[in-house]
Symmetry: C2
Subunit: 276 residues, 2 copies
């Protein structure tokens, strides 16, 4: 893929749009791909959502998200595995080969990061073959270290690759997301390694803007508004051999308060100006 054909809009960026509105807006604006989220897809109906985007000729570039593997309680762990099997089935039904995983934070009262990471590996050993049989690749997303306690104990691309490396690359890889790794001077080498191993299963963009909002979840900046050299990261990921879609995934209260199609058009323009 080259140029604007690589652009994909993650559904969360314009969550004010319903799935039919999003599909129509993509068609009007010539956006070729969407990254979907499980909750709105399930609310609409998985089969109906799959038909909607397929009929519109849109590529589903990823499904967000599985994961949350760090519980200690056996019943809770079994529920997480069941939920992830369902997520894999949903990804297959939607026609995407990539399920993004947010691995989970520390269980209440625990400070054992290494133990939590090992429980992620345990869950992957169950789910990776299940995914592989259905043509779905699990993509471990390292999240920014500010989420290590409550959301994801996998904080660097190197850690994500260490986990993924226990499994075939056709089953488990990583997500490269600029928002989470831009600060890390070891990440460029990790991108190169991930590419060489065939493990870059998704590439997502968001810019880093400050001040961060309370809870630090919904402050991801529009492309070009922040501190990240987007073109440098795109070049690194290209040089690593990745030529797939590039999703823009923004969680941003200000963008959500605006007209969704206008935000989508702006995001496509920013992609052309700052990424290509």
């Amino acid at each position: 893929m080259t140029g604007p054909s690589r652009f994909s809009i993650n559904q969360m960026t314009v969550k004010q749009l319903s799935l039919p509105e999003l599909t129509k807006a993509c068609l009007r604006l010539g956006v070729p791909g969407v990254g979907l989220w499980r909750e709105p897809v399930r609310a609409y109906g998985v089969a109906a959502a799959a038909a909607l985007v397929r009929d519109a000729g849109l590529a589903v570039t990823s499904l967000c998200r599985g994961g949350f593997f760090t519980a200690i309680d056996p019943a809770e762990r079994a529920r997480a595995l069941d939920d992830n099997r369902a997520a894999i089935d949903e990804a297959a039904a939607l026609g995407t080969d990539t399920l993004v995983l947010v691995s989970g934070g520390l269980p209440p009262g625990s400070s054992d990061l290494a133990g939590a990471r090992e429980r992620i590996a345990d869950a992957l050993s169950v789910l990776a073959p299940y995914a592989g049989e259905r043509g779905v690749r699990l993509a471990i997303e390292p999240l920014h270290p500010m989420y290590a306690a409550d959301r994801c104990v996998v904080s660097t691309l190197t850690q994500a690759l260490a986990l993924a490396g226990r499994f075939p690359s056709s089953q488990v890889g990583v997500v490269v997301d600029t928002y989470h790794i831009w600060w890390d001077d070891t990440a460029p080498d990790a991108v190169a390694r991930a590419g060489a191993e065939g493990r870059i299963h998704a590439f997502q963009l968001a810019d880093w803007t400050t001040p961060l909002p309370a809870g630090v979840l919904n402050g991801r900046g529009q492309i070009g508004d922040g501190s990240i050299d987007m073109r440098a990261w795109r070049s690194r990921v290209d040089a690593a051999g990745y030529s797939g879609p590039i999703e823009v995934e923004l969680f941003n209260e200000e963008l959500w308060a605006r007209d969704g199609e206008e935000v989508l058009a702006e995001t496509a323009r920013r992609f052309t100006a700052h990424v290509l």
Copy 2:
């Protein structure tokens, strides 16, 4: 040093106390050391502050803070060097051998982290000999990656050691602060290296609590309230050969709203319960 004699209260933890109030509270509670900040010290008068803590028999375990070396504008860089020479002089006058450095974020409009880190090295090459002549060690503090854009482009202990390693350990070392490095699985090895090189110039504690407040500056948790295994970090730093003071440095609106001496007493109790 052993046991409670290693406890030092960083002035910022109880900033509601004036310097004389802080000194008296330390005496009443048997707290042997304080980490001071430049602004309140200068407001009180450097010589007067030095006399106050000296007469009380308190050790000044560090002075916070110099740094902010990342500007590109020559005039701004010259002002930063002047200000840091003044900070070194103040540290010497207060009788502490350690000046903590917060290195600075990205200049407005820049996304060049590597360039900013190189400008830090340039500033250190000027300041390190000046500090060495006055018996003051510069201590580079890696700040959590969530501050990389606007406060400190040095985000890991490994990066801080790479910078410090260009200079004699008697002139430049690092700060180990649990709040900033707890998430990093490469930090334990970096602590060992820092100790072997004689570069652990300060050891500070704060706990990690969520949700983070807006701006993410003033949410550092009281020891024992968060996700960090304090005793494990103390053991690692001990094993690296560090036997100096351990400062508790909390920026926390809720603690600041309470009676300062009560917070100091609570912090000393938490230190005994969770760190020793």
